[in-house]
Symmetry: C2
């Protein structure tokens, strides 16, 4: 590579909600945060995969405003690496072309020769030398001012993916890289079979490599309206009167935009008026400067529960049984359970996914229709698409054990050193029983310790704070009492996680 | 009828565990206690069906020692009727012939002309005049010293039932009653089809009517060893030196047998050595004195989840969807849910049953194999076949919300006036938070009230008692703390339900 490493940036797209993995995925716990395959969540695996190939400070996460804080918290287990990662927050999701364009604007500030590697955050790719050597090859293409994509050699007549057709007769100077003839829409099964036997058709992996200057000029050509908006956004973000640390104006800060911040308002307005369009449809299908690296690495887009068949080891009956399951005589089925028992008998090509508050049962061939269940839940104002019963927080987690008329019971877990916000509830009191560790409790002007097997009481309208001053995990059982026991009855006075 | 009503007794067999309705049925909540169809539990429906036809004090429940107390509590909603019902407790289950023989011994004490109607406790029969008029007809047969059974005209070539073949050429004085030629084992599907078209084959309903003297003489002929044991049991129970209230020696008392009670020991020894045999195999198939009343009433033995198809109304897609369910495009499927959400897509001939701690998924044709799941759970020492998360008690109920390392959380509900036993735990303390109603708490020598939104603490090794002195339901959240938080860490000093 002629590029210095410092000039290569990784842009990880993390705006998706992944409704197709419901009930395991939720709006507050999208697919990229799930550990479905491998030893870590998909987004953390994505970061680890690229870390080292690009410097940590060149890793960018593009996500939406509402997901940014949760995503940031989710990355904490990465330690110092997490702190280096920069966030680009979209005011709202507008598909991949605007997200990639926005990232290009940011990265282009460093150098118009900057190369960006665009990657989804929720695909399954085993970390391997193959991935990195394919990446090196793609960068050579990008240096030649091409848009480079990665094609996956099809293993079955898949009708759920778009295809890339390569032109093997074109002479490309770069060995191992192919000229793209065209992008092809999702085929029917007959056409997919011809693609499979043809040999010149590849699956579109959604991973792209290019110079920022190149993608911006291609956007200018094929999506001129988006380009105009991006230029306006650039001038707002990086105008001469705002030279101080422009890169982190939106990046890295997790403070909510203030509505009276006129620049932020303008940005939001501009962004929300962008046409939602994918980079594939908006640019890749139209550009004549596209090369493809035939991927030598394993890949799955994990498009639905059935995609697990490609990436998870099966038992000799073809089943994937995970968690607390008992099975008699099923085959070729996927059963995912947590603590609750799922008993299955004689299933064939079925998917069963169990979570503490919801269970899904469907034949594999209908797994895509899970998104229709999620839509129904949204329409009906249900919570099962939104939250899990256990909600991960920067300080630990809480689990709603039961909600009844006038009360709610939670188990709250605080990591060592964690500190909830100083808060007050207008309509509920709280009883706390410590079941492991030691709690430090602030109640108005008092501060005291509550040991394991001791309890304390927070009356209604009382300022209070819970901390874990010890080394051990603190677990408390909280019984809330009141005529209204929802999460939004909270007034925060001080919060080390910036949520006041 | 020439019999006076007072001479007719109803014997309800309630020793079954109903593993085929797992996970809704459990060892402590067998099928007869479920409200699967109709407005009440199956056993309470059975009692209501016969009540009035026989006097309340002539209703007998035969069940096993370990189920007697729970069954008695389960009948409490029947009020005064429940108090009249007499219990015959088998030391352990030995199939239907011993259970019926034991009941015959009891009822025969009144008069050898006593007529007993033997009924399972867990079948589905809509209460109707048809049932009662069929019953009247059967009693006429019993008066003529026949064993009378009820045959169900088959509606499909069922291979899961035994059949009764009638001899239509035999002349019987009683109009509408048929002579039984023979009992036939469960057929294969081809044979079942010929039975269906033949017209002389009926399903065996398991409901029988006969004189106590007649069934005892038939047992003497066909099961002489059982007869000998029954005579010994009779002499122990009703010996001249124990004339005082012999009927209630075993019946109606719920006090645990004392091991030093030699008569009880003898009874238990005798009973446990009986050969487990069904009345069908042991007597009905061999006797030549059997009549059959072709039932005009609706009937299902509810032999498995799929039997619901016969007795529950289906939607236009042929589905039975009950509870918190969302479905897209399933047909001919059964989905049973409670509070948790069960989402189903495109199921066909499937059964999905969800309970707070366990879910079952199986094709209808494999529903019978549920019992294999239950066996596996037993072998593995699991609790999911034994208890529900919510356990009904005479004083109310408790629900285990969570059990963790060193703690257990329960919601305890006490009916108005209910009073738990005075008790002590050696290895756990308890924190109680009242979330509705008022609690009266005894803690060693103190007694005090705890109001809604107040809490109290029961240290380890402290005698305590919880009561609901108010009109309102009392609900408390109990957080147990200790190195051992199982149900058997309890020492009872006084209990109004006789459990000390």
């Amino acid at each position: 590579m002629t590029q210095s490493l410092n000039n290569i940036h990784a842009v990880i797209l993390a705006g998706g909600s992944g409704t197709r993995f419901w009930p395991l995925s939720r709006e507050t716990c999208p697919k990229q945060m799930l550990q479905i395959v491998g030893e870590d969540s998909l987004i953390r695996q994505t970061i680890k995969r690229i870390n080292g190939f690009v410097p940590p400070q060149n890793i960018w996460i593009v996500t939406t405003e509402d997901k940014a804080q949760d995503t940031r918290f989710h990355l904490e287990p990465l330690g110092a690496l997490a702190k280096s990662i920069q966030f680009i927050k979209e005011p709202l999701g507008r598909n991949t072309a605007p997200a990639i364009g926005l990232a290009a604007i940011y990265i282009n500030q460093f150098s118009s020769d900057s190369i960006m590697i665009v990657m989804p955050s929720d695909h399954a790719i085993p970390t391997s030398q193959k991935f990195l050597s394919d990446l090196k090859l793609s960068i050579k293409g990008a240096e030649e001012d091409y848009l480079v994509t990665f094609g996956i050699r099809p293993s079955r007549p898949e009708t759920g993916y778009g295809y890339i057709k390569v032109d093997c007769t074109s002479q490309i100077k770069l060995k191992g890289v192919l000229k793209v003839e065209c992008f092809v829409e999702k085929p029917n099964v007959e056409t997919a079979k011809t693609y499979l036997s043809d040999g010149n058709y590849f699956w579109n992996s959604g991973i792209f490599v290019w110079k920022t200057s190149k993608i911006l000029s291609e956007i200018k050509t094929h999506l001129p309206s988006l380009y105009d908006s991006l230029k306006k956004i650039e001038s707002l973000l990086f105008s001469p009167d705002k030279p101080a640390d422009p890169i982190t104006h939106l990046a890295n800060d997790l403070i909510t935009y203030k509505p009276n911040d006129s620049i932020t308002q303008l940005l939001n307005d501009l962004y929300s008026r962008l046409e939602p369009v994918s980079i594939d449809y908006g640019v890749m299908e139209k550009s004549t400067n596209v090369l493809m690296v035939p991927a030598t690495f394993q890949w799955s887009d994990l498009g639905s529960w059935t995609a697990l068949d490609e990436v998870v080891d099966k038992d000799k009956e073809g089943n994937i049984l995970k968690g607390n399951t008992i099975d008699i005589g099923s085959h070729d089925s996927i059963v995912f359970s947590g603590q609750r028992l799922v008993a299955t008998i004689g299933l064939k090509d079925m998917v069963v996914v169990d979570t503490p508050d919801a269970t899904l049962v469907a034949p594999k061939e209908r797994a895509q229709d899970v998104k229709r269940i999620v839509e129904t839940l949204k329409q009906n104002g249900r919570e099962e698409h939104l939250l899990h019963k256990t909600v991960e927080r920067p300080w630990g987690s809480y689990t709603v054990l039961e909600k009844g008329n006038g009360y709610k019971i939670k188990r709250i877990v605080l990591k060592s050193g964690a500190k909830l916000s100083l808060q007050r509830h207008r309509r509920r009191s709280e009883h706390w029983v410590v079941v492991s560790g030691v709690a430090k409790v602030t109640r108005e002007s008092e501060t005291y310790l509550v040991q394991n097997n001791e309890s304390t009481y927070i009356p209604i309208n009382t300022k209070h704070r819970l901390e874990n001053p010890g080394e051990e995990l603190l677990q408390i059982i909280e019984v809330q009492n009141g005529d209204y026991v929802e999460e939004d009855d909270i007034e925060r006075f001080d919060d080390i996680y910036g949520r006041t």
